[in-house]
Amino acid sequence: MSTESAVSAPGDDDVLLRVENVVKYFPVRSSQLFRRQRDFVHAVEGVSLEIRRGQTLGLVGETGCGKSTLARCIMRLYDLTSGKITFDGHDISTLSRRTMRPYRRDIQMIFQDPYGSLNPRRRVGSIIGDPFAIHGIASGQERKKRVQEVMELVGLNPEHYNRFPAEFSGGQRQRIGVARALAFRPKLVICDEPVSALDVSIQAQIINLLADLQQEFGLTYLFIAHDLSVVRHVSDTVAVMYLGQISEIAPTSQLWDHPRHPYTDALLSAVPVPDPDHADQRERILLVGDVPSPVAPPSGCRFHPRCPKAAPTCVEQEPVLQPRLGDGPDHRAKCHFPVADGEDISLARPTISAGARIIETGILADSDASLTGLGPRDGS
């Protein structure tokens, strides 16, 4: 794998990917005529994170919080509004399409929709052979041989080389997507909800496949999902996103045992518990309202309109993502009033005026339709 990697690693820096203050705005096409001022969807606003070699960073958040936008910024499918992305010691945040090309072999992506991510008019062999064709690595029989090797690697029958995507099941299609992404043994694989479109039994297979491949090739994953149990299973570190910002980031067990951000706490309390007796006993934290519009995000802490612990400070001042309540440096939360261990925030009541808590659902509904870059597909 190292012979094929086009980008040499300077030094032995342990961090493979460093994302610093990445901001991505999408212009909103205003429906009103003669409106001078342009609005922007604040899809990603000042996200910083790091992924170490061979590790898996889980990224969770509800639909529309900017997870996929962040992934596409890292892939450089979108240009950044501002911020810096360092991959393997190289700044890739402002590279053009051409100069980005060599890095494409080391950063690959597995897509959410096993149906939409494979071209229905092309044969599987040609889809998986795309990386070889685009980078001019192998052609003819040599390409076929290597494609069949990759197919075997991901558990596909190499005999199916000449089939069309429509002739495969959802799980097999996702394997095709994995094969395409892994054809070059990339260093970083961004998995954009790779299992959320699959049946539960198939989900486990794909997750196991990803785990096996990670062990075999020392892959680094950025794993995006909204299924918390999946994320907990696969991740070494988990970052929680809300409205384009990271509200908490921590090692997986640390996050589950000591959630500091009320949003994290609420999310975790929503995870279904398999044991019904146990499920009855626990306290669910119900958040009021909807996610505010990303066109006009709330002031201060973005979570304040829905937070049970909201106080005037939260409206006025934006909290910093930093360790809270004596946590280690790798557990950071963006909250003025972090949740203490054992605290039940379902009993908490906000101390801010009702006006500050009005959630503008109308604005979200309206703007959602006219957003240019934040449709239902890439909105998560």
Binding site: R97, R101, Q108, R121, V154, G155, H160, I202
Partner: protein, 323 residues
């Protein structure tokens, strides 16, 4: 992510090893491309197949026009002033020498129809090819690049569609001078706007698909994405529209020739023949008008029915076209 998920539930439907084993049995099932499926549907369409037969006949007639001329012994531009015209200089009706009669100059109508088929088919196919190539490339570029490129091309298409085609064609040919090439270029250049619009609309939706994003993530160039990833997905509407464009081009060419700005005489051409026949019809020379008109009608009708069949075969849901 080191530990595997081990479930107590019955083994999942398709573990990796099972997928390989299952494949050995399934190997016999041959992958059929969407094209194969469409062709199979087309072959089952009786009306389309009959039309195809008619079109093949017209094509054979065009190819073997010299043979027909040799058999009946009349050249296409040969004027038979003694045998081909009546005593008072009127065209002769169908008889044993001139199977479909003669025209006002004593030429054999059968031979001229056969030669006219050549012009019609050449214009129909060449103008359509030109139309489709310009339209497809313009539509692809416009939709894929978007922004200013899209605005310029889209406005240009609007401008083209707003032009009264026939008036412009007449004045253009009048200025440049009539010839077969000019007719083809005029029809092709002013006809691509509708193809461009259809392709643009299709590409706009296809370019948002995840597989296009996947291609970009692999580092594919815009041209590769346009022609390898997108074009095969818009080929069905292009082919359907092209089969419907051929008869349109044939009729347009006939119209231009009818108006005297198409293929210049003495070249045999259906539109010209119809135009010339009009002057003779009132004196009873019905064959002069009927046979060329029939040739034009049958040919374009056959192409249209085939085009409908192609549309049904390649776009069975009928939801992709003519947006």
């Amino acid at each position: 992510m080191s530990q595997r998920i081990v479930s107590a539930a019955p083994p999942p439907a398709e573990p990796p090893s099972a997928a390989v084993i299952e494949g050995s049995a399934a190997k016999k099932i041959e992958g059929r491309s969407p094209w194969r499926l469409g062709l199979e549907r087309l072959v089952r369409d009786r009306a389309a197949m009959i039309s195809l037969g008619v079109i093949l006949l017209v094509v054979l007639m065009a190819i073997f026009a010299p043979v027909i001329a040799a058999i009946v012994g009349h050249g296409p531009n040969q004027q038979f002033s003694s045998t081909g015209l009546t005593a008072i200089g009127q065209p002769k009706g169908p008889n044993s020498t001139f199977l479909l009669g003669t025209d006002d100059l004593g030429r054999d109508i059968l031979v001229r129809i056969a030669y006219g088929a050549r012009i019609s088919l050449i214009v129909g196919i060449a103008a359509t090819a030109l139309t489709v190539v310009i339209g497809a490339v313009a539509g692809l570029v416009s939709a894929y690049f978007g922004g200013l490129t899209d605005s310029v091309i889209a406005r240009f298409i609007d401008w083209l569609l707003a032009i009264p085609f026939l008036l412009l064609a007449i004045s253009l040919v009048a200025v440049i001078g009539p010839s077969l090439t000019v007719v083809i270029i005029v029809i092709g250049f002013f006809g691509w706007a509708s193809v461009g619009r259809i392709v643009r609309g299709q590409v706009l939706s296809i370019k948002e698909k995840e597989y296009i994003e996947a291609a970009r993530a692999l580092g594919a160039s815009p041209w590769r994405i346009m022609f390898i990833d997108i074009l095969p997905n818009v080929m069905a509407p292009i082919i359907v529209y092209a089969t419907l464009l051929i008869p349109l081009s044939i009729v347009t060419e006939a119209a231009l020739s009818y108006l005297g700005v198409g293929v210049p005489p003495p070249t045999a051409d259906w539109g010209q023949m119809i135009s010339a026949a009009q002057a003779q019809y009132q004196y009873g020379a019905w064959w002069f008008l009927v046979f060329p008109s029939l040739a034009l009608l049958v040919t374009t009708l056959a192409f249209n029915i085939l085009g409908d069949g192609v549309r049904d075969a390649f776009d069975p849901r009928g939801d992709q076209l003519f947006v």
